[in-house]
């Protein structure tokens, strides 16, 4: 009963607000980690300009891109400087949040 209520609320919020399901679940830490990315990549990863859109990319793609940026395997302007702030586990959590 309790679980069903929570799932219903999470589902309603994610359906209508276009929020990844994690955002409405009990994962405040994942939100903390991923929310700042929207400052460049847009709310829920939907960019409005020249910044690459993250929304719709797979978690696997996002995780690999972030690790490659961090390790200098993928050229970037600012992303290497950003990606260096995250551990493998944090990158995987970010990828899961945005990539679903």
């Amino acid at each position: 009963m309790k679980n069903r209520s929570c799932i219903a609320a999470a589902f309603a919020a994610s359906l209508v607000l276009g929020v990844p399901s994690l955002a409405a679940a009990d994962s405040m830490d994942s939100n903390m980690l991923g929310n700042p990315c929207a400052g460049c990549h847009g709310t829920a990863g939907q960019s409005k300009g020249a910044m690459p859109t993250i929304k719709g990319k797979s978690a696997k793609f996002i995780a690999k891109a972030l690790k490659d940026f961090r390790d200098g395997k993928k050229p970037s302007t600012v992303m290497q400087r950003i990606a260096k702030g995250y551990t493998d586990a944090q990158i995987d959590a970010l990828a899961k949040q945005y990539g679903g």
């Binding site: 830490d29 980690l33 400052g39 409005k48 400087r81 995250y86």
Partner: protein
């Protein structure tokens, strides 16, 4: 049993809130499901906090109090001064915050906060009760810091450190200035809003002069011995604008000691500088309502608990953005946006009876040296030993000596950043 009831109620209210986001239900439940949050200030911090609170928990009733119906940003206002964008490009409204996110937006000036009764009163005579109050008032000026400058002079010598009328006033002066004229700009002492801002302003004005009034000069009278992204700005200025720009730093007596508005002259300890157009940016402090709420300390800024951004001075009051003391985060629009999300998550958690999560924030500040020449500074921030910390190994500035393609990409990303963050805040 009580727990079950509350959860069931949250579910219902959450669904109602979600429905209102679609425009199916226009009335927000009169009694808050999980709390009432009042946000004062609809800029980078406040509007983000309002949106993300609603996004995180549609059961929270959010009221944003902001006098202006249209908000003109300070970020990217330098492109208006440089003639690249018009004022409409940096003007935003609160339609999405109301219709998409279901926040209540009140266009009025918050004039008093009663932290005992937990109410906010406006100039229009309305009173709003809160469970949690978020202050995002931005900056105010210390008008008395340098003799001769005050609100009465700001029309003739604009500060243009609030986006809007001041931006337009300074742009008009630059347009009216003849070729061969002198633009004098005096950045403020630390700490101040947008540390690279004055130097991007110099760049944008230099771009405008180069293309329309190439005999003109720019003099920077700086009370500081160095400034944000200094080596990158100097490299860019030399490459693009030759000898047009002269920087007089603290070591050369750059600090303005007196403003003579009648003669359009700034006096330093050792010299005087007359400009055809003068831009004096005053010393700053937290926006007035923060002081009225008792959230400022003797520095004029607001000490906060870095885990939640709750004020260290007053309970259930949170301060985000430029007004807060959130060092090592800079006073930037990006930082305000990032802080607002941490604050919103902390408030949502506390209202739901949970412990706030661990803060994680980013700042990226782009500056345009020309429309095709962008530079940036970035940092990832974590939390350790009760403090906001810089994540080791992360961040830093764009490389010196980078090629034109790199600079052009960062210029494109600068505009991309502005579009995305504007949408993340007001969209």
């Amino acid at each position: 049993m009580a727990k079950l009831t509350r959860r069931a109620f949250t579910t219902l209210a959450g669904t109602a809130g979600a429905a209102s986001a679609l425009g199916l239900v226009n009335i927000i439940p009169a009694r808050a499901a999980s709390g009432r949050v009042v946000v004062i200030g609809g800029g980078f911090g406040g509007a983000t906090a309002a949106k993300y609170l609603r996004r995180m928990d549609p059961g929270i009733q959010v009221t944003l109090i902001e006098p202006k119906k249209q908000f003109v940003t300070c970020p990217f206002s330098n492109t208006v001064l440089g003639g690249i964008n018009d004022i409409g490009f940096i003007t935003h409204n609160y339609d999405a915050l109301k219709s998409t996110w279901g926040a209540t937006v009140v266009h009025d000036m918050a004039t008093a906060v009663d932290t005992g009764k937990k109410t906010v009163t406006t100039g229009g005579g309305r009173t709003f009760g809160y469970d949690k109050l978020v202050l995002s008032p931005g900056i105010d000026f210390r008008w008395d810091a340098v003799p001769g400058y005050g609100p009465d002079v700001a029309g003739k010598i604009p500060h243009a450190w609030h986006g809007g009328e001041q931006t337009v006033a300074l742009r008009k002066q630059l347009e009216a200035m003849p070729d061969g004229g002198v633009f004098v700009i005096a950045p403020p002492t630390n700490p101040f809003r947008c540390p690279p801002g004055p130097y991007e302003r110099v760049s944008m004005v230099a771009h405008y002069f180069k293309t329309t009034k190439p005999k003109s000069k720019i003099i920077i009278l700086d009370p500081k011995p160095k400034f944000s992204k200094m080596p990158l700005f100097l490299e860019g200025w030399k490459a693009l604008y030759g000898g047009m720009i002269e920087w007089v730093g603290a070591g050369d007596g750059g600090a303005t000691k007196r403003v003579d508005a009648a003669n359009m002259t700034l006096h330093t300890e050792i010299d005087e500088y007359k400009g055809d157009v003068v831009n004096f940016i005053p010393t700053q402090k937290a926006g007035k309502i923060a002081q009225l709420a008792g959230a400022t300390d003797k520095t004029g800024w607001c000490p906060i608990n870095p885990r939640t951004f709750e004020s260290k001075m007053v309970k259930d009051v949170y301060v985000i953005g430029d007004a807060s003391i959130a060092s090592p985060l800079p006073k930037s629009g990006f930082a305000a946006n990032s802080e607002a999300k941490v604050c919103a998550a902390a408030i949502a958690a506390e209202l739901a009876g949970k412990a706030p999560g661990e803060p994680s924030m980013i700042n990226t500040c782009y500056s345009l040296v020309s429309p095709d020449y962008g530079i940036s500074v970035a940092m990832v921030y974590g939390f350790a030993d009760g403090k906001i910390t810089k994540k080791k190994g992360s961040g830093g500035v764009s490389p010196k000596g980078a090629n034109a393609e790199f600079r052009k990409k960062e210029a494109q990303y600068a505009e991309g950043w502005y579009s995305s963050i504007s949408s993340d805040i007001w969209g």
